[in-house]
């Protein structure tokens, strides 16, 4: 009576370089891989999550088939894309409680590149919608995923992990909010297109900025990136004209010299009628003249300044992460108990069905014999029969559910099944 194993296979930004992650990402959506996994006989329930930072495959299978199932899943999803050796090197595999823990960490954004970011939960829910549409998740995974959503919610409400500026791009967004208040009608200009700049831009878009403009030396790359954010691309030469219209500038070019001087910005401020400008310079060496910060209504932060903001929040972040870890651990224990209880569920259901059948039959028989009873009296008899049955069932049920230190669970299940002859009389009672 062993319960099924829960297995999680995956790659994330911590273990795997971007080049490999790109290969493994399920670019074609969830539908096909979910259907293909459904063809595998070894696995019972399955769920897929694919974002730009991770690919996770979660499935259950019979305990003796674990290794087979792992091999089949990897073969089916990834074998055609990367070599066997790379799979060996990068893919992690977690079993049971460890898998549960990992899923909870992912959901509550403790495993994210930017710890505490909120996007991952949305992605997880989206992925789950596909899984439930394809009916690929069953009793165990449904419970597990719903639990992971509530863990994420607990972490969010009980810790401040999402509230403080935990990374550079978060710090930038927080500063922008302190300067502009509301970001919804603000425009962002990306100068140069590095990974950091994209991350910051993504955050700002998450805060609802109105438009993203990308200026790059090669226009082609700018056009590509602009398309990601429904923005527009401009040439690097148009930088000064653009400064009149945008509010937040994230600069990360590879230029060796300053690309913007104080006098340029001063003349722009006149055109802007002093509407504030927020420059974020994350390039090394710097793109922007540090003296720009001296102008009124202009704020300039370079990478070191932002790092200082992050450092300020670091101790708090560590404390909050500790709290979040504790929440995850608690929930893993609860999930473990539920999974243990799972094994007894079929027996409990069968026992209940059997007794209910008996009660119904006997009540019908008795009521047929007694004529002239009014409705109340009939109900009283029904109630009496049900409550006698419940009282008798109470102890066997408790015996099944609660932990017993000297008799193992499977043994207890066997005893109860024998005692009530659940395996012999199936045809008679169970519907």
């Amino acid at each position: 009576m062993h319960r099924d194993a829960i297995i999680l296979l995956g790659v994330n930004h911590k273990t795997t370089p971007l080049a490999v992650r790109e290969q493994l990402a399920l670019a074609g959506g969830y539908e096909d891989p979910l259907r293909d996994l459904g063809q595998l006989s070894a696995i019972k329930e399955h769920f897929l999550l694919s974002t730009c930072n991770r690919v996770e495959v979660l499935f259950t299978c019979a305990r003796e088939l674990v290794e087979d199932a792992k091999k089949q899943v990897l073969e089916l999803l990834f074998a055609s894309r990367v070599s066997q050796r790379e799979l060996q090197q990068y893919v992690y595999a977690h079993l049971d409680d460890r898998a549960v823990e990992h899923l909870f960490e992912v959901a509550s954004s403790l495993d994210s590149m930017i710890v505490g970011e909120a996007q991952i939960l949305g992605q997880l829910k989206e992925a789950y919608r596909f899984a439930s549409k394809h009916r690929s998740s069953g009793l165990v995974l449904n419970k597990l995923l719903h639990k992971s959503f509530s863990v994420a919610k607990r972490v969010r409400t009980e810790t401040r992990i999402g509230a403080s500026a935990v990374s550079i791009s978060f710090a930038a967004v927080e500063l922008a909010k302190k300067i502009f208040g509301n970001l919804t009608d603000k425009k962002v200009l990306l100068v140069g297109a590095g990974e950091m700049a994209e991350l910051a831009a993504e955050h700002l878009v998450g805060q609802g900025v109105a438009q993203v403009v990308v200026a790059n030396r090669t226009l082609e790359r700018a056009v590509k990136l602009a398309r990601c954010y429904n923005g527009k691309a401009v040439a690097l030469e148009e930088l000064l004209d653009q400064l009149e219209h945008v509010d937040i500038i994230i600069s990360s070019t590879g230029a060796t010299d300053l690309i913007l001087h104080k006098r340029d910005v001063r003349s722009v401020m006149r055109e802007r009628r002093n509407r504030p400008l927020f420059f974020i310079d994350i390039a090394v060496p710097r793109d922007l003249d540090p003296n720009i910060n001296e102008l009124d209504n202009v704020y300039l932060y370079d990478i070191d300044d932002l790092n200082n903001v992050v450092e300020l929040n670091k101790t708090e972040r560590d404390r909050e992460a500790l709290k979040a870890d504790r929440i995850v651990q608690e929930e893993v224990v609860k999930m473990h108990q539920w999974l243990e209880g799972m094994a007894t569920t079929p027996t409990i259901v069968e026992l209940r069905n059997m007794v209910n059948c008996l009660v119904e039959k006997e009540v019908a028989k008795t009521l047929g014999r007694l004529s002239g009873l009014n409705k109340n009296e009939q109900q009283a008899i029904e109630r009496m029969a049900t409550s006698i049955a419940n009282k008798i069932l109470h102890h066997p049920m408790q015996y099944l559910k609660t932990d017993h230190h000297c008799i193992s669970q499977s043994e207890r299940i066997g005893q109860v099944r024998n005692l009530f002859q659940l395996d012999h009389n199936k045809q008679d009672f169970a519907r």
């Binding site: 500063l175 302190k178 509301n182 504030p276």
Partner: protein, 272 residues
């Protein structure tokens, strides 16, 4: 009766300020609604105080030193509450409560004697002119608070050293807006106050303008605020410069209100 109400509202403001300060430093969310309610109750008691004082004195109580400051404090409270009702400016309440408490303390120390009105003051121009001007000053007071908050917040953001205020004060944009709104309401009111004063002077003394010190200083204040408004609308001045100018102009308001009465003599002397 009005005195009891005055003491009660003073106590109310005192508790509210303590509450707001406790919230400001500890950031415990439970304290804020308590402080707000206390402030609101104090403002209501204060209103009753002014009504009773009106009944006891028989004329609008904006003539003695005590009455003027108390009325000023009352305007600041209701001005703040009216803003609170329209939009939230994080922790403005703390600053407003401190200002009101200071004004009330000054009012409490001034003589509370009810002085009969001299014949020149017995006119319906008195409540109109004095109250309009004082309400205008209340808006300028809030704008000055907003400006102080702006400068504190700007200093931390620009200097990249985040201390006490960064997380506690609202965004620069919100503070600049607050300043703008206060000035857009306060400036027309001040203009109206000046015009009513001029008309009243014509009626009482036969001449529109006397170059009496209070008049002169009111005009200086008016020009200062006119300069802020003008620069904002034409060149788009905002932020730091407007904040500094608003504070300077408010100092001028205070000087017009008190400095002139104590340092320079003129027709506007409080009844004494």
């Amino acid at each position: 009766m009005s005195f009891v109400l005055f003491q009660l509202s003073l106590a109310g403001y005192c508790l509210a300020t303590a509450g707001y300060l406790a919230f400001f430093f500890t950031q415990k969310k439970k304290i804020r609604p308590v402080a707000r309610k206390l402030f609101f109750i104090a403002a209501i008691l204060h209103t009753f105080n002014i009504v009773f004082r009106y009944i006891e004195a028989g004329h609008t109580p904006i003539t003695s030193h005590h009455e003027t400051i108390s009325f000023f404090a009352w305007s600041v409270s209701w001005c703040y509450l009216s803003f609170r009702w329209r939009y939230t400016v994080k922790n403005l309440g703390t600053f407003a409560a401190i200002l009101v408490l200071v004004l009330m303390t000054v009012a409490a120390m001034a003589s509370r004697e009810i002085i009969p009105l001299s014949p020149t003051f017995q006119s319906w121009w008195l409540p109109v002119h004095a109250s309009v001007t004082l309400v205008a000053n209340a808006f300028f007071a809030i704008s000055c608070l907003g400006s102080v908050m702006y400068l504190l917040q700007e200093r931390e953001i620009k200097g990249k050293r985040f201390g006490l205020f960064y997380s506690r004060l609202p965004s620069l944009d919100a503070l600049d807006n607050l300043n703008h709104h206060c000035l857009s309401i306060g400036f027309p009111l001040l203009t109206l106050g000046l015009i009513t004063g001029v008309l009243w002077a014509k009626q009482v003394w036969g001449a529109y303008w006397h170059w009496d010190p209070k008049e002169t200083w009111s005009l200086i204040t008016w020009f200062l605020y006119a300069a802020v408004m003008h620069q904002r609308f034409t060149v788009g001045w905002r932020g730091r410069r407007v904040a500094i100018l608003s504070i300077v102009a408010f100092v001028s308001v205070l000087f017009t209100l008190w400095g002139v009465s104590f340092l320079l003599k003129g027709v506007h002397n409080y009844a004494s």
